[in-house]
Symmetry: C2
Subunit: 418 residues, 2 copies
């Protein structure tokens, strides 16, 4: 029911204004779980700060093939004279060194081998001549630098991850190297994906006359998965009671809700009314000054985001990328905006006096940096978006953005870095 906490719904705001308005209301973070690091964790988000439990490397190591020595033995020889040291043993890879190094001795060490206690320098094999159990060292420039000190990469207690960091191949490697066996990560948020539209035939089903094939299930399911969500999909009939009932159930069992269709102002557009009645603060934004996707609705009910997307598949996916993605990332405690690619426009684009436009482009490397090539055709065509790499923002205004104008391109979600 509408309550005293109900907010004044904003209408006809820009994408940035819409995000700022939603950001004023709290969102409940999802709980965390501990996962073994050797499970495939890439793409998960850390649920706490992580400190290094040990030094990396765990001992002084040689960075070359050569002989571990005492630096003062090298300095003892007169300039220009070779140093002669007794070969007291050998370090084997992955084994403990054969005891401490005494003055006058050298111990053979491979690249990456542990230095024996006492050793503080390594002479490269190229500068050594062996004979009769001894090594003659003719040049020792940089011997001190051929040691990688214990903790040179990471020191015990070093800060490795903040809460809310996305685990990448490199950060997984860093954690493994520091001896982390389990990682605290946020569970994948359960996001209900409610698709409305009595005219929709599910993918793969037989189409009846008057039906069209549903697109939003597949594209929004893939887009949600791409940002680490666990989508839970359901079709709902176009009547207010069914939608209200499903929204209640989804809010009870899930962390957020995405509704496709019914977000406009037509007679069967029940989404805003149903969200307003579901709880506080309810509908925060209804209608954005951007195209495609003008009739988008953004709400929060009991700290759970509810994103009402237009039924048109292009509008739905564009608004998911621009609004749904950053809002749902708040379930991980993240609030970062997407970093756009700065590009040069490959063809002029007309500005709209009333709206900001988001135009599908292909990105390519030109002689002077990245070029954003608008795809020919109408922005309402799904196949245009299917061919696109990114969305270029055309600010509200008169006239055109000229060919060559600098623009910001927001990359579209993919599941990987290809």
């Amino acid at each position: 029911m509408p309550s005293a906490l109900q907010v004044q719904t904003l209408r006809r705001v820009t994408i940035d204004e819409a995000l700022d308005a939603v950001a004023k209301h709290p969102v409940r973070q999802v709980p965390s779980e501990r996962l073994r690091i050797s499970a495939s964790l890439s793409g998960r988000v850390t649920a706490s700060e992580i400190l290094a439990p040990e030094d990396v490397p765990p001992f002084d190591r040689s960075s070359v093939d050569g002989f571990a020595v005492l630096e003062r033995d090298l300095r003892a020889a007169p300039p220009g004279q070779p140093v002669r040291l007794h070969i007291a043993g050998e370090v084997r890879m992955g084994e403990a060194p054969p005891g401490p190094l005494a003055s006058g001795n050298a111990i053979r060490v491979p690249t990456g081998g542990a230095l024996p206690p006492g050793a503080d320098a390594v002479v490269k094999i190229e500068n050594c001549r062996e004979s009769n159990g001894a090594v003659e060292i003719s040049g020792a420039r940089g011997a001190h630098d051929h040691v990688t000190r214990r903790g040179a990469d990471v020191k015990r207690g070093d800060h490795l991850c903040r809460c809310g960091d996305i685990l990448t191949p490199a950060s997984l490697g860093m954690l493994a190297g520091a001896g982390i066996a389990e990682v605290p990560v946020f569970v994948r948020p359960r996001v209900a994906l409610i698709v409305t539209g009595d005219e929709l035939a599910p993918p793969g089903s037989q189409m009846r006359a008057g039906q069209i094939r549903d697109i939003n299930w597949l594209s929004l399911d893939a887009a949600l998965s791409a940002i680490g969500m666990a989508p839970q999909f359901v079709y709902v009939r176009d009547d207010k009671a069914s939608l209200a009932q499903q929204l209640r159930e989804s809010l009870e069992h899930g962390d957020a809700v995405v509704i496709s269709g019914g977000s406009s102002v037509g007679e069967r557009d029940y989404t805003p009314a149903v969200v307003a009645e579901a709880g506080s603060p309810g509908v925060i934004v209804h209608g954005v000054r951007a195209r495609p996707g003008r009739p988008t609705m953004l709400g929060i009910v009991d700290e759970r985001p509810v994103i009402g997307l237009p039924g048109n598949p292009v509008s739905a996916l564009v608004m998911f990328e621009l609004l749904g993605r950053p809002i749902l990332q708040r379930l991980f405690g993240r609030s970062d905006k997407v970093i756009p690619v700065r590009a040069k426009l490959g063809a002029p684009l007309e500005r709209d006096p009333d709206l900001e436009r988001y135009v599908a482009v292909r990105l390519k490397m030109g002689d002077s940096g990245v070029e954003a090539e608008p795809l020919p055709g109408s922005s309402a065509q799904m196949h245009i978006l299917g061919f696109a790499d990114a969305l270029v923002r055309v600010p509200q205004g008169s006239g055109s953005l000229a060919k060559g104008a600098p623009v910001d391109a927001v990359p579209l979600s993919k599941n990987n870095a290809l």
Copy 2:
């Protein structure tokens, strides 16, 4: 065995020269499979061109709530006079229209509803007044434009995907909308990941004295998965016979091989010799004029790429991103290079007179576009890479790149678009 086809190995080449040299040799594409589109396919790569089997939308649709009419009935009225038409029925969402529309009649139609045969325009509900089974139309501006024609988005036979396209949320939606139920995609390439280094303790194992924790298994496994590969991991002891035996087996059962460690010129660096002996053309590049990662080896054996990465985890991952990633994408018939992000340098970086450098940076949005902020510390430190978003290329030369200089930043692999 070395054969007449053995190539002259290139040494000390730049990253681009290395890629060009490898590109001269054929790589065997992986086979394809057909997958149901409703399976999660995002990130897979299409294995053939895909044409649309049907029109999208499959019939003329109304884009507004209103009345379907014959345009000539609208034009028949004198200017300024309302048009009065008999209401002959109603189109319901997802159902066939109630028969053809005759002159003098109008049929009620919802947004997205199928137009009855004969109807060629829709008058918005705001311009209609109903009484006694008739509708009075007072303005019909744009009535013709309120029809989305059959095939307006996609026409039967339209080209939807090229071979080698990465399936994204948008392209999956486009295919589903056009009635595609199964998609031909390349199988995930089986890439053997051979990790050498007798000093390495596997993640989670108890470390003995002299051992260090292995990083490359986890980071390279995650990086391979992120670009759609199916990594098959194995540790191999540091002896030539074991590595040669494993390489033979991996080449027999896999599509490509990545070897970590043993790519340098030390006495236990068997990778180049073993690859040269495995088949033709063998080692194509050994040693790049770039840092970190100088001792990298690139080869092809019987049309299967073999990537020899340094054992140092930072060097290994940087070279995987710059060389391994584009070379392995050729298994899908793709040859695209990664599109870098054009950024402004946030702090000066010293150039190297002999090498191009790749420096780990964080990207952030500044007032005048993307800023690349070099991470403090040595480029040999894994934790630096763990914190980074991208690698900035510092061309070979003297002096420094100044703060504010334009640079190209290659984004690091992630598993998703967060």
